[in-house]
Amino acid sequence: MLNKIKASLEDAIAPIQDGASIIVSGFGEAGVPYELMNAIIDKDLKELVIIANNAGTFDRGIAAMIRQGRVRKVICSHPRPPNSEAFAEAYKAGKIELECMPQGTLAERLRAAGAGLGPFFTPTGYGTLIAEGKEQRVIDGKGYILEQPLSGDFALIKADKGDRWGNLTYRFAQRQFGPVMSMAGKHTIVQVREIVELGTLDPQYIMTPGIFVDAVVQTGASK
């Protein structure tokens, strides 16, 4: 029987080891898997590489991991939204590395990895600092830079509903990075508000097919 449901957050994150690269979903406060990250903090993991849109805000989630010195490097598009002091302090103290890229490039690099594609040409960033060290090419009069696929050892995702096969739905703007990050993780762990019986989710409206998911754990409505 195909059953990806885990009984606890601890069980769900059990495969994660020190030094892992971990993709983390979320944009603003929507779709952030705080409960999974809390479980990682409790496990005392170190030297982590975090791949996410931001580098954490306030003292929760990624910011809490940074405060505790668990994170070696952040790969993201926007490390300084309001209330991102945890990252800024660690960065200015030389305690953390940053790889910053355009948000659409981040999403597409994740997609390329998840979809089995190689490097791709994007016009975003052509002629700017982020093009340095990358192949640049003009095709039909338009400039492009070559970007590499980006995968992670693990992906932590927050979704709304899931079933034992790993099929997922998301609420409103909780969706954003969820589908593409689920694809890009070599081992994708999802926290859902509610686990439902197989066959309950309408096949027409499943947003992440279960094939991209390895573990599902129910957390209830979180804040």
């Binding site: 929507a30 659409g104 700017t128």
Partner: protein, 231 residues
Amino acid sequence: MSNYQSLNRLEIAYLVAQHFEDGAVVNLGIGMPTQVSNYLPKDKEILLHSENGILGMGRNAEGDEVDWDLINASRTPITLVPGASICEHTTAFAMMRGGHLDYSVLGGFQVAANGDLANWMTIEPNAIAAIGGAMDLAIGAKSVIVTMDHVAKDGSPKLLEQCTYPLTGIGVVKHVYTDLAIVAVKAGEFIVRALLDGLSFDELQSKTGAPLRRAENMSVIKRGADGQLSF
């Protein structure tokens, strides 16, 4: 000496909101551009895009409407208009890069006469890079509008021959709305489309780091007795 009162941020937002035609699809960047949504003309259907996967963004949510799964790029809870759609991230950015978006309104540190935009990183020591959606928005939208003060806090010009800060996109800016003027960027030139009432063209030029040209039909931005702007 001329006598003028610079436009405040809400007034700049009002002017930008009058820029769009009926049916336009617009992305409003974080910061000052977000305010534009408050002044969109009621007689036009203007569709707002948000980089976190929303097409058809409505006004900010109030009271019971607040749902933290429904926010905009500035992380503010919002509502949806009838006909709105939600998508995942690569689709939201395909809308930009694929040239499907009519306008992108962005904040700016500097704009050059060749249309170059700098708005993601200063050159101060220890500055932290932060790109977000800005580079995709800068190269993707059919028309890029920048809103910013005409000069920096230290009085130095932000409209320049060449940007001195790291670039966000090259040759992308079509229009700049500042607290002093509305400036088109065309064929390597700044063309003043409208000038704030009480400010002379020469004075505007003295606050600008590249030559300005008067548009043939250059207008004056006036405040009515009720504060209503016209131009």
